[in-house]
């Protein structure tokens, strides 16, 4: 039986000082052009936490509003914030930087994260009010004097800043190994921490007993290891430990931005085969991509919108007879021989798997390709990524004679949606709609949705190939495990029996 999407969690973590000190656009600029006007101006373009919470795409990502509601708000969305929005939504939360720094320390098993005494005390006080962080407070360490932090900074540590002021640091973990440099450790700890907060939200949303989780797959984009195994891995198990998944093992799956879709396909197959009962697919976010398009944003008077680290977690479980099913028998993949032209890619990812199912493009009610927020990408000259994906899918439907050319715009509106995810690589890739898609299917608003991830493998210089994968999620067929039947089916059977009985009476 097919595995189901049992529960989801989505989180965003506001990290304005990490934009300045850890985002690759900014760190590169500091090397190439240290006196640049951009570096002087960037602090002025950062948003306060309230604006980040009130930002409609962020609210959509955590489930505070639907993509359809977001589409009704006029763009630019950064000018049309939602007053008094909550940092907690039904799928997750938006976390402030102070809680992130404390969580970095909680996630650090090697005494590498130092926080200044007063700052640490304040952070712990705030975290005590957080419904999930409170349980982890015992892992936090006492603060240190500023002089200790400054000494570590002189020895290669990466600073942790709040409003530009040094409040802590992440020390290097080895004297010469660049894979354990402070920069890499910070990057990995942020990825781990934002995965952990997503896992904790998933536990809350699903109500699952943590000990029942068998397997965690991390599909983020960081490499964990030292000079002898630079991508050694198992961020998954490291995060599962902090989240208290005592019965779980883990492993990492890497495939650039396509990794979340590959991971969900893998998890669904693992559950369907009976290897594991409950598999969690998780990913924390990227510090390097913070402020990636900051230059274009500032130049156009747009705030630095790439100021949050993304995260998500998805629980994939045995078929419960009600949750939407992942159709493992017909997933899409871009093969080595598929070719790189846009139509070759869309054919491999969309129509090849649909052909196996005997479905047309228009039979998929909603497509969730790369869901980048256009408020961020348009001023950066990258256009509206989800919209162009929907157009490509629609254009292929036209080429296949499943749609009239004149219906293309209508197709985009009806089968697509506005993008609402931050430009964090793997984070926007297909999965942001899993939560809403699950709800829309269970409410009967739609029958099925397709999730598409794409990856730019060529960025790693190992191949010039492109990559992608896709899967379809569909209304549960109603058959629960062990061959028993659901209530809905029983009602159907009784109705049929009664009709037959009535017919037989009428016939006599």
């Amino acid at each position: 039986m097919n595995a189901v999407i049992k529960s989801v969690a989505y989180t965003l973590t506001h990290a304005p000082d990490l934009v300045v000190h850890a985002g690759s656009t900014q760190t590169t600029e500091r090397i190439v052009n240290p006196e640049s006007d951009y570096l002087k101006a960037i602090t002025g373009g950062l948003r306060p936490f309230e604006d980040v919470v009130n930002y409609a795409p962020n609210q959509t990502y955590i489930g505070g509003m639907t993509p359809a509601q977001l589409a009704e708000i006029p763009m630019p969305w950064y000018e049309n914030g939602l007053p008094q929005a909550s940092r907690f939504g039904k799928f997750g939360e938006i976390m402030p930087q102070q809680e992130l720094y404390l969580l970095l320390q909680i996630c650090d098993s090697f005494d590498l994260v130092l926080l200044e005494t007063d700052y640490a005390a304040k952070a712990a006080e705030e975290a005590a009010k957080h419904p999930m962080l409170v349980e982890l407070l015992a892992r936090a360490k006492a603060g240190v004097e500023t002089a200790v932090i400054e000494a570590a900074m002189a020895d290669g540590a990466e600073g942790l800043y709040q409003d530009g002021k040094l409040v802590g640091c992440v020390k290097k973990a080895h004297s010469i190994d660049e894979n354990l440099s402070a920069h890499v450790i910070l990057e990995n700890l942020v990825s781990k921490a934002t995965s952990v907060i997503s896992l904790l939200n998933l536990v809350k949303n699903s109500g699952i007993n943590r000990a029942d989780i068998d397997m965690v797959i991390d599909c983020s984009e960081e490499a964990v290891g030292d000079m002898n195994q630079r991508g050694g891995g198992n961020m998954a198990k490291a995060s599962a430990e902090i989240a208290g998944f005592t019965g779980a093992t883990g492993s990492d799956l890497r495939a650039f931005c396509a990794a979340p879709v590959h991971a969900i396909i893998t998890a669904a197959a693992m559950v369907k085969s009976g290897t594991y009962k409950n598999v969690v697919v998780t990913a924390g976010g990227s510090t390097a991509k913070l402020g990636m398009n900051g230059k274009d944003h500032l130049k156009k008077g747009v705030p630095v919108l790439e100021d949050v680290v993304g995260g998500f977690a998805v629980l994939i479980s045995e078929n419960d007879g009600t949750s939407p099913e992942i159709l493992s028998e017909s997933v899409g993949w871009h093969s080595v021989g598929s070719g790189s032209s846009p139509q070759a890619v869309i054919t491999a990812l969309v129509t090849d798997p649909l052909d196996k199912l005997g479905l047309k493009i228009t039979d998929i009610d909603k497509f969730s390709p790369e869901m980048q927020n256009p408020d961020i990408t348009k001023p950066a000259g990258a256009g509206d990524v989800p919209a162009s994906n929907f157009k490509m899918i629609g254009a292929l439907a036209v080429k296949r004679g499943e749609l009239e050319r004149a219906q293309l715009d209508e197709f985009v509106t009806r089968h697509g949606m506005v993008g609402f995810a931050p430009t964090q690589g793997h984070i926007p890739s297909g999965v942001p709609y899993l939560g809403f898609g699950r709800e829309d299917i269970m409410a009967g608003d739609i029958q099925r949705a397709m999730f598409i991830g794409k990856g730019s493998l060529f960025l790693g210089r190992m191949t010039n190939l492109f990559d992608g994968a896709s899967f379809v999620v569909q209304k549960n067929s109603g058959v629960s495990p062990a061959g028993s039947v659901s209530e809905e089916q029983v009602r159907g059977l009784i109705a049929t029996a009664l009709r037959d009985f009535a017919k037989s009476l009428g016939g006599e």
């Binding site: 230059k295 846009p342 000259g381 256009g383 162009s388 629609g394």
Partner: protein, 96 residues
């Protein structure tokens, strides 16, 4: 690269998703880097530059190959906007 082959023998073909991005890329290879950040800052190469979807290029490519590689994107991209942007850049900066 342009120096190696002689700038008059080099043509740049872009595949950008929209007009503005095409414009920035085109300006970079013709007039130098408008963001004043990359390796081409201040270097005015004046190279010939076209977008793969412009009629001038489409007309030279084998029709079947073009249809297979680019055909679908013609329905997706704003061809008019891209052409306008590219013509503007060429008229301002291309030397060859």
């Amino acid at each position: 690269m342009a120096e190696q082959y002689g700038p008059e023998n080099v043509v740049v073909i872009l595949g950008a998703a929209e007009g503005e991005a095409s414009g920035i890329a085109a300006e970079t290879v013709t007039a130098g880097d408008p963001t004043f950040a990359g390796p081409l800052t201040g270097v005015s190469l004046g190279l010939k530059v076209y977008h793969i979807c412009e009629e001038e290029i489409k007309g030279l490519v084998d029709a079947d190959v073009y249809e297979e590689q680019v055909g679908m994107m013609e329905m997706v991209l704003d061809l008019g906007e891209i052409a306008t942007e590219m013509q503007s850049i060429r008229s301002q900066f291309t030397k060859f």
